[in-house]
Symmetry: D2
């Protein structure tokens, strides 16, 4: 009953097998000139129905986000994001580091989503071309959000339209992009470039791989300097097949989506069982695989006593105790049911 995080779990057998094979097969060209890396790009082009996208494997989401943003903004640029965005609330200055000093501006909004009206207001400030002000350069949305909600295609379009009107690029932190696609039920294209996303951090690590993300540029021009930025960040692996073999398997036979669907289904199963219980209350709609929930003290105690693992979470209301539960590609329905049974009996 480990619901602590989708980055504490292991990897899907297909991923493990792919890595094993990649390194048993002898020599391969180094620094991403190998077959796996080439194949990953081809698979992403097909998946996103975008034959001219370019993609780069990296080992962490922080690297993916920071490198992607560094391609979107000059050092004197401004990046707009939700206060809860990983790039703003965590990641310890990584975007500032990789962009050589771009400034973050937080745009608030309900349920972890940027309020498009507030964004439009912020972007309408008369700062363009005035050297006293950071120059608006990029908007970053998180999909699924840090509140476990998912932007629909129309919501992305609204933000993209604001951004593009002023010449900004739209970045999507898709650490849980697969869960978002699984929830919306549309194509990956509809939730990304067709909605106006310019560059996507396509997450995999949280969805059943070992350590692999892809930075996907829907506009190849944006990616022009990526290789230099990646190299000087120490992210150009000599044996890049380690990352690419994972992504290759992840993109094979819909594994990426199957994994996410399972995680989402387990989250729904949890919600279905929890919400009828007295004293529980969801903090946000559960669109993807994260559940933020208020539980009464006795229920929490009973769960803890019986070995359930999950994180406490800050709540705005005094006296209230909130928690985060995360499901994953390998969450066992039996674990969910056991969890619910304990909660019910508490």
């Amino acid at each position: 009953m480990n619901f602590r995080s989708d980055n504490e779990v292991g990897a899907h057998p297909s991923i493990i097998q792919a890595v094993s094979r990649a390194f048993s097969s002898g020599s391969a060209f180094s620094y991403g000139a190998d077959d796996w890396t080439q194949r990953v790009e081809r698979r992403l082009r097909e998946l996103f129905d975008k034959p001219d996208l370019v993609a780069f494997p990296v080992v962490t989401g922080t690297a993916a986000n920071s490198l992607a943003l560094a391609c979107c903004t000059p050092p004197w640029g401004a990046i707009f994001c939700h206060p809860s965005a990983h790039i703003a609330a965590e990641e310890t200055g990584a975007p500032e580091f990789y962009t050589a000093g771009a400034r973050l501006f937080r745009i608030d909004g309900a349920e972890g989503k940027i309020d498009p009206v507030k964004l439009a207001q912020a972007l309408a400030q008369p700062v363009y071309g005035v050297p006293h002000f950071p120059q608006p350069a990029a908007v970053s949305v998180t999909q699924a959000t840090e509140c476990g909600t998912v932007y629909g295609p129309d919501e992305i379009v609204a933000i993209a339209t604001s951004a593009h009107r002023h010449g900004l690029k739209l970045h999507m932190d898709g650490a849980r992009f697969a869960n978002a696609v699984a929830f919306v039920g549309c194509s990956p294209a509809e939730l990304s470039w067709k909605a106006g996303v310019d560059v996507l951090s396509f997450g995999a690590t949280k969805n059943g791989v070992m350590a692999a993300e892809a930075v996907v540029f829907f506009n190849a021009e944006l990616a022009r300097d990526f290789a230099y930025r990646s190299k000087r960040g120490g992210h150009l692996l000599s044996k890049m097949r380690l990352v690419s073999a994972q992504l290759d398997a992840y993109l094979t036979d819909g594994l990426w989506l199957d994994n996410a669907r399972h995680a989402n289904a387990m989250a729904r199963r949890l919600v279905a069982g929890l919400t009828p219980l007295k004293g529980t209350q969801l903090m946000y709609p559960v669109d993807a695989n994260e559940i933020f929930v208020v539980m009464p003290a006795h229920m929490h105690d009973a769960l803890q006593d019986n070995g359930a693992k999950y994180h406490p979470w800050p709540s705005d209301r005094p006296g209230e105790r909130a928690f985060r539960l995360v499901t994953a590609f390998d969450t066992d329905p039996a674990d969910v049911d056991r969890f619910l049974s304990i909660a019910k009996s508490a």
Copy 2:
């Protein structure tokens, strides 16, 4: 007959198995709080006979070097290294990036090694405490060097003494540290902290693993900010066991040294067969697993025609054609012999 690079080869079966097991075993604490990462540090403490060292797994040598140096120098510091050092000749500004602007000064010397007299002269300049000058902060030596030679313990001591006299730290880029230890036949401690090394990039990638290096601080105080630097560089993997499991296996039962011994032996075998041949000439002594050799055109042509793979290398003498051959943990003696047989017949 692929002698192009030790980073084009696959991984040792023990490494592959270790990674497979690590990810088949279910949940593990994230961000390096897992058992593998803890065990790697313990193993390194034993190997180096230094119970207070601290170590951090990273995925590339560039990251290892840059993060290590960033812990040794302020942004206005000066780093001294050989012109051929990877950090100076390649790595595309990574040290400058991670140190926030430290400046490289090249100290020449024969066979890829820093000339200790020239280093002492450079460090004797009256620049300390004067804000017009980059402040000498670190010396970086490469072991084995980029010329395939190896510093003996006394040579390291000479450099360390100069460095420490002026308050500088000594960094060792040990991308091929194992090959150096195998050559010298001393203990890892004698070739590192006992000789004055403060921080070591302990390489593994080129020696039979997938992608793993460890930054080893012999002085824990130096490592104080490492976690922040690593995080903002995007190098704190959530599933760190991917890197640590490799290093764990690498450090088990002497695999790291066995691999290097084999590679070195294969290099010696190549040298023994090549040097008697007319028109060949070694550019540097072959201490480790890299051979820089002048070969006559007809010999090179014959080798190429028969499928031998290796890189051309710049030569200082006009008209002369030089090449680099690299052996690896899995170099087949039969390949070496076939190579020599072709060269001989040419």
Copy 3:
């Protein structure tokens, strides 16, 4: 009738004379080893009743703020300030640049002042020592604020106490520090180090000098690296006497305070005349020399037609037109009266 900005006016005759003399007097040691620079530090030590402070002249407020903050925070640090703070709303990434990537967090509050309760909440987050989060390192207050209000000593103490409890440094952007002291009527010490300020950007440019600020460290240890940071920022003038001679004169015979008192008095005179007029409304209390005021359209038109100069200012309420008026060391009371007379007749 130019009320556009206190940085559009000329310089006080004493300042002009001091600069002329400094450069007519022949040779002087370079890079701040000159007599003027030494004298400025002595004068500041007396003025602030702090014999161990250290001070450095710089040419702009942006340089003063950024260099001061860079001495307070590591690249992975967090700086807390009001959203209206110059360092957050303007200065185009200068703090991020000089700190090598520290992140700004905005703490809201009425009338341009940080709300100490919100600050305390932000600083109470469990992020200390956790590498995923920017490490709280500094709080920056603006004195007088960007709303023209002034923090009283107790208000500074409240913020300093929060900051110091968690090990943060308190920086004060004192671009209009003189106006604040003139308003409060206390000693410079009471409004700075005695209230907990660790480093002060002591402004002069807006108060009758040409281009001069001093970075005043009340804790010399904080200043340890200042000279290197300043040099690599291009702020170590070879003929530093240009800046120091201005500050020397500025600190002589209370010129700094006289200038500010005059500017404040002119602002009060404007307020006294404006506020009784129908349709006008102050946006904030006028503590220093900036007036943010709503005026009816016909009044604004009449003023413009008669040559009054001042900037429009964003207002939160739709339909309302707001403006900023700034007085200076040389504002002519006759100009104020003429302005009021036009406004009255409108």
Copy 4:
């Protein structure tokens, strides 16, 4: 008899007068929108016979060089310069800071000048487009050099041709550009853009002004981001007229050239008197206003005893004592003669 440095002297009366006037004249637009700044650009366009150049005043040579180079190179770029260049031997990481990490490569050559053959070899390396290597982006020449010699137009052309062939920009550190023009006797254009210089740090501080340099872009496209870079470096003075008024006077009635001619003439007068004396030896030809000379101990002692001031200088030959003498716009011929008379009598 102060021959220590041309940055220890005062300022020419015309410069002092210009600054006094600029600040006595009341209001002026801030941040460089003032008349003086506009006029400086116009004067430079005329002086350089280049109606489309753009120019920016800054307060130090370090700022000029670093900002100019930052406009020429990406963070992963390589800058080539002579080992003695101020940007490489001093300036404490300023170029690395402003370029966000570009790497310096030293190209040796006699008498402080880049050897064009060595430069051509360095630029011919197959690193272009390869992410492992810093990308060659700029060459920087110092005019007059740090050895007091001057590149002739043809020598600049040779370097520029190499640079431009590979797409690099040519920067000239013209801290003593005026002395170089005075020596060569050609037009400023012939020694800059007509010879291939793309951006010039046009020095004035060492030639009789207080603190002023201009960054002159002969290609306006290169200057596109200058204002942002300058602002975030803290170099956009609100009362920019302080710098511009100096440059305005400096460029009026040939003051810039007259000052340099005088300094050069005084250097020649020193050389003419010194070189016949036994035991003296010039280290380099004296083209501009710096003299590097070996003098016997008794001569040096006699000069010191009689109050002559100048710096010792490192010499390559053991046992030899070398010194640097610098003349300036206001060097008194009587001082020169007195110096020579003491030397002669020694």
